[in-house]
Amino acid sequence: MPQPADNPSAVTLTYRRETFTARPGMTVRKAVEQIGLNPESVLAVRDGQLITDEVVLESGDRVKLVATISGG
């Protein structure tokens, strides 16, 4: 289970104000599921570029997960 980041070589994922780490070699989709989020409810952005769920995360990647569902 990814935990708040403390390993510089790991993949870092941020969601709202929380930070998690994931194992390099994992797909975005798998990392999102392990955090406990629904892949249908988030988008992944790496280096300012949108990436698909199937992208394999590499060591040092910093990924922002954008929540796509609004309440209202």
Binding site: S41, L50, I51, E54, T68, I69, S70, G71
Partner: protein, 339 residues
Amino acid sequence: MTAKRYPLMLCRHCDAKAVINMRQHKLALCGPHYVDWVHKQTARFIDEYGMFAPEDRVLVAVSGGKDSLALWDILLALGYPADGLYIGLGIGWGIGHNPDDDTGESEGQGYSDTSYGYIQDFVQARGGDQTLHVVDVAEEFGATIPAAARVTNRGREKPCSLCGLTKRHIMNRVARDGGYDVLATGHNLDDEAAVLLGNTLQWSVDYLARQGPVMPPSHPGLARKVKPLFRFYEREMAAYAIVRGIDYIYEECPFATGATTARYKDMLNNLELSSPGIKLQFYLRFLKAKKVNNLFENAHRTLDLLTCPTCGQPTTNPGECTFCRTWDRVRDRLAPSRT
């Protein structure tokens, strides 16, 4: 041990890396082809559902969120000279954001101020030529939405009911006074499917009978209401905003926390995860059942609408409409005592 290889997902139309994979359409696209696809699909929906014609005057209700700004961007890209309407509700960051403020209306950069900032940036980035109507609720009616809600019976805990009533009134008025044919809102498929789920769970046949992407004017002088994004997933609109570089307010309205709509959206997304396309089918088959099978036809009551003597907008009861009566009461209760 050999590392597992994953194929890179490519755009259906070129060799570029895909930025989005829409499983319900079995369609992956790169950024430029995605933008093109969204524009063409929107144009098709506008035409197919008879939303408006190229010569119609369109007013887009913009909140600073992804959907409404994306809609305005799409309509401008399609060549519609659409104008914008922003309603300043006077909402702060809510209780807890500013520890010195327990009113829900923190001073300074509140939720509404931040939202308006994104809209101003959007207009500036497009040369500043677009017309943006701005209505500040506190300036015009005497109180912010949270302050007004606290002194009325409409949502002391949550001002959403008063907020909806006020926004509908202002949208109708600005569209009517500005001579607009159409009022366009940024409702997406997730919004519509969540409302449909809620109405179905309650068997609210009156609401089910009225729900749809096009609402004809209910009263002389009112604009037709349309939802050109109603077939796009919310995820797709967020993707569109990111690809187009549209900055939008990411945070939720502080009063939307725990909203029923968000729970229904989560439920539908859980279904979507195992059955791609289920949300879309749920809504489209509802529309088809209404149109082809005349579902809820008997429930569709034609109300005898009267005209409010104060504001001129429709009302179901003689005398002032709910909006006018509510805001009269707000002003009375907020006025300094004369004794």
